[in-house]
């Protein structure tokens, strides 16, 4: 098998500089950036996707990172940017397959995820709410609820302050709560096919037991 060739010189280069070089189509820089973060991203994705899909999804995330490096604008840290791509890709994948398991953990940290069954309508609203959250808030929410990190850990991971992390979480939760309370599902038309899948799944569930 091939191994990734990374010169020691590149190991010294900053993340931002690597991203800049990737946009100049420097493949060694691309390999270096991935090598730096692949384990972290693996850990992050591991909690969000079906293990059978894992390799495929990880590859897609890594491909997207490299392809969109030229659009990185430096208004967040490279790490936040990487996590946002990973989060978004996993989210898209789960949504397209009608799998929302990890969502349960986002709104309720009482009983275990299995014991909590969101009604379809409630979940559609939740999905819409999550899609409207800015990346920065959604990421904090997930890291806190799904990955179980403390605000201090999130802060050091994303390069923000712990207070900022708390604020973002608060805002995200408030936005989701109001989404769940509101009766509006008008923005959900794009979910039609998903809700079909979903209704299929619901019909299957009793038969499976």
């Amino acid at each position: 098998m091939r191994t990734i060739d990374t010169s020691t010189e590149l190991q010294e280069v900053s993340d931002t500089e690597l991203v800049r070089r990737i946009a100049e189509r420097d493949n060694a820089a691309a390999a270096q950036l991935l090598q730096r973060y692949v384990r972290e991203i693996t850990g992050f994705l591991g909690k969000r996707v079906d293990p059978a899909d894992f390799d495929d999804l990880l590859q897609e995330v890594l491909c997207r990172i490299l392809r969109s490096a030229s659009s990185f604008r430096g208004d967040a840290s490279v790490r936040t940017w990487l996590y946002s791509i990973a989060r978004y890709t996993a989210w898209e994948r789960n949504r397209s397959r009608g799998e929302y398991g990890s969502l349960c953990r986002l709104v309720d940290d009482g009983p275990g995820p299995e014991s909590m069954i969101l009604s379809r309508e409630r979940r559609e609203r939740l999905v819409a709410g999550l899609e409207r959250l800015p990346d920065s808030q959604a990421l904090v929410l997930e890291l806190y609820r799904i990955d179980g990190l403390s605000h201090e850990e999130i802060a050091s991971l994303l390069g923000i302050s712990a207070t900022a992390s708390r604020k973002r979480l608060e805002r995200a939760v408030r936005a989701l709560d109001s989404q769940l309370e509101s009766g509006s599902t008008t923005n959900l038309r794009h979910l039609r096919i998903e809700s079909w899948r979903e209704s299929l799944m619901r019909r299957i569930a009793p038969a499976a037991e």
Binding site: M1, R2, T3, I4, I22, A23, E24, R25, N27, A30, A31, L34, Q35, V38, R39, T42, D55, D56, L58, Q59, L62, C63, I65, L66, R67, S68, A69, S70, S71, R73, R97, E131, R132, S184, T186, N187, R189, H190, R192, I193, S195, W196, R197, S199, L200, R203, I204, A207, A208
Partner: protein, 689 residues
């Protein structure tokens, strides 16, 4: 443990390497433009982030694959058409139109690849803004609308019509005026389709104008209609003609009242109603007039276009009854008249050959025996000035459809030979069992397609089969109980198919490894089972020319769960197409995976097979995940990803086509094109076990 870890790291390294390889495989340059990365992928192609080294500026390069099957001359024509369209747009300098800098094309083995170079902006599209925020406030929305109207006004003055205006084509640069993108692109796409088929529709269905659906001449007024739709979307959060299926969506655009207008204040609503007039001539005269009206609105002033007027006739017509393609008709009581030759077939246009007519008549008789429904067929042209629906209603009564039925159940297939339109007129006691979007979709699109291609007999038989199947499921669920269904076990769908003398589509060899299926003679016909799972098994047994064994584990465990909830087995429809058209599927085997697909029929869905300890099994779950069904779309189905485990072994036989993956060597014809859209299927009558 250390071994496991190092293996895992090797795996991660390999994945990293593949990602780097993928990145390295992006073109390094297109024309003189250096490619830095990707900005997005859409229906028509990929947009690259690029640098123009000569002028040293960032640009966006959109690459579109135009066609891959045409002759060299036609390919060149397509490329030149792209260049012409882009040249026209590039002459358009306006702050609200995304600037085009360059365009070119090349012809390679894989087809024509065109590209054009655009202004690169930082920002999002109106579509993603609306997706996130739901609606916009009045001031922000009006500002965007004014900008769109300005851009349109400039374009129309140059004789350029957008034809595919929609939120995803409106870009919102940060701190700058909104810009309309993709002018002229639709026409290139449309041209590409025109070469293969006339009257095709390209564009986002949501904002299509009625004249585009009708295939009439499209002018600047089509863009104004789209702008009306965008206004509704921005302020109400709703698509004005949204519906459950693409067919009913198109119906609503053509004949239904827009929804979401309640969210608009009176002057805005007056303007939108004018923009959404079905008749292009009744819409406002120009984009600049609309712009003036929008500006007046944003300043709280009045404008002639924002004053409400009496509603035009027919504006509020509700199309609910025809939403699924079914027309409800009151059943006539004593107007019945029975024509002489064949009591159920009224073929005034002589579309059926005598043998075909007999076959269809037999099938109609069988349908009546099985379901108690009096189904009849009429091919005729309406009276002068009479609409297809009025014609259908009148004939339903004149022919006394349903009078033979004990419960008064009647159904009339009406093919309007002048308008070339198919209607299915349904008696009052039947409609509740029928409006399943899937049924409607099949009947209206597939049957209409078959009519269009001269396959009249096949269209009728298909329609009947689908109805039979649907009613049967309703009967199983206890929702429909005509007497003939009392003895369900005795029911045989294939009984009308004339099994004797027909051979299964391919011999046992192809699926010899299907050890679960027993031997059986060549002269038996498929028949539906008591459950969808059984029906599927029987289909497979029929394909393999074998005998169905109830104890066989013919489906993967996951698939069995899907089948329990499947409304109408796909196997059944596939059987319909294969059997009725006499076509054959191919089996492709690679190691522990196999694909069954029709080489000659674009309607037949591929089946995924996987080999396990129990022998070959059908992977329905894989199908559900990997097959996209497209309602009235350019294909009847496509595959999602070549990377799926079910498909990966067949990669050499897969081919990308119109943004979908299809099987190389199969019939990948374009069918009627309404623009790619995933079909939402609602499950209707379910068997209750």
């Amino acid at each position: 443990m250390s071994l496991e870890l190092s293996l895992d790291l090797n795996r991660l390294d390999a994945i990293c390497q593949r990602a780097v390889d993928d990145f390295a495989a992006l073109p390094s340059a297109i024309g003189r433009y250096r490619i830095c990365g990707e900005l997005g992928r859409g229906g028509m192609g990929v947009v690259f982030d690029a640098i123009d080294p000569v002028l040293d500026r960032s640009v966006a390069v959109k690459v579109i694959r135009l066609d891959s099957v045409r002759s060299a001359d036609e390919q060149r024509e397509l490329g030149q058409r792209l260049v012409r369209e882009m040249r026209a747009t590039s002459g358009l300098f306006h702050p609200n139109v995304l600037a085009i800098f360059d365009a070119d094309y090349e012809i390679a083995d894989s087809g024509v690849r065109g590209h054009y170079v655009m202004e690169r902006i930082e920002g999002e599209s109106l579509a993603s803004r609306l997706h996130r925020d739901g609606t916009l406030d009045r001031a922000a929305g009006l500002e965007i609308a004014v900008a769109i109207a300005s851009g349109l006004s400039a374009a129309h003055a140059h004789g350029i019509v957008h034809r595919d205006l929609k939120p995803s084509n409106i870009l919102l640069p940060e701190g700058n005026d909104p810009k309309i993108a993709d002018f002229g692109l639709c026409r290139v796409g449309n041209g590409a389709v025109d070469l293969t088929q006339s009257g095709a529709i390209v564009g986002s269905v949501h904002y299509l104008s009625p004249e585009q659906i009708d295939g009439k001449k499209v002018g600047a007024a089509a863009d104004l209609f789209a702008l009306g739709g965008i206004l509704v979307r921005m302020f109400s959060g709703r698509e004005p003609f949204a519906a459950d299926s693409i067919v009913s969506h198109l119906d609503r655009i053509q004949g239904g009242a827009p929804s979401g207008l309640d969210a608009l204040d009176a002057p805005l609503r007056a303007l939108v109603e004018r923009l959404l007039e079905k008749n292009p001539e009744r819409r406002p005269g120009s984009a600049s007039e609309v712009r003036a009206a929008l500006l007046a609105l944003s300043r709280g002033k009045s404008h002639p276009l924002t004053r409400s007027r009496r509603r035009p006739r027919g504006f509020g017509r509700v199309a609910a009854a025809v939403a699924c393609g079914f027309l409800l008709a009151a059943l006539g009581s004593d107007l019945g008249r029975t024509p002489a030759s064949n009591p159920r077939i009224h073929d005034e246009a002589a579309l059926l050959a005598p043998a075909e007519e007999r076959e269809v008549a037999d099938r109609l008789a069988l349908f009546f025996a099985e379901s108690g429904i009096d189904a009849q067929v009429l091919f005729d042209s309406p009276a002068l000035g009479e609409t297809t629906s009025a014609f259908a209603t009148r004939k339903f009564q004149e022919l006394g459809v349903g009078q033979r039925s004990p419960a008064g159940r009647g159904l009339l297939f009406v093919y309007d030979t002048r308008a070339e339109e198919l209607r299915i007129e349904v008696g009052y006691s039947l409609e509740e069992f029928l409006p399943d979007p899937l049924v409607a979709y099949l009947l209206r699109d597939h049957a209409r397609y078959l009519f269009d291609s001269g396959e009249t007999r096949l269209a009728l038989l298909l329609g009947l089969r689908v109805l039979q199947d649907h009613l049967r499921l309703a009967a199983l669920g206890g929702e429909f109980d005509p007497r003939p269904y009392d003895a369900l076990q005795a029911l045989r769908y294939g009984s009308g198919g004339g099994g004797a003398g027909q051979t299964a589509p391919f011999g046992r060899n192809a699926l010899a490894a299907f050890s679960q299926i027993g031997e059986r003679g060549a002269d038996w016909d498929f028949s539906a089972g008591a459950t969808p799972q059984e029906t599927h098994s029987l289909y497979l047994a029929w394909l393999a020319h074998g005998e169905y064994d109830t104890s066989a584990t013919i489906f993967t465990e996951e698939s069995r769960r899907y089948l329990a909830a499947w409304p109408m087995t796909r196997a059944y429809l596939d059987y319909m197409f294969l059997k009725e058209s006499g076509q054959r599927p191919e089996v492709l085997e690679r190691g522990d995976r196999a694909l069954i697909f029709s080489t000659t029929n674009p309607f037949v869905f591929p089946h995924f097979l996987v080999k396990s300890d129990a022998g070959w099994q059908i992977d329905i779950a894989g199908e559900v995940r990997e097959i996209i069904n497209i309602a009235g779309g350019s294909h009847s189905w496509g595959l999602r990803s070549a990377n799926a485990p079910q498909l990966a072994p067949f990669r050499d036989r897969l081919v990308a086509s119109d943004g979908l993956i299809r099987i190389r060597g199969a019939d990948n014809r374009r069918l009627r094109t309404f623009g790619p859209e995933t079909m939402p299927v609602e499950l209707a009558a379910q068997p209750r076990s």
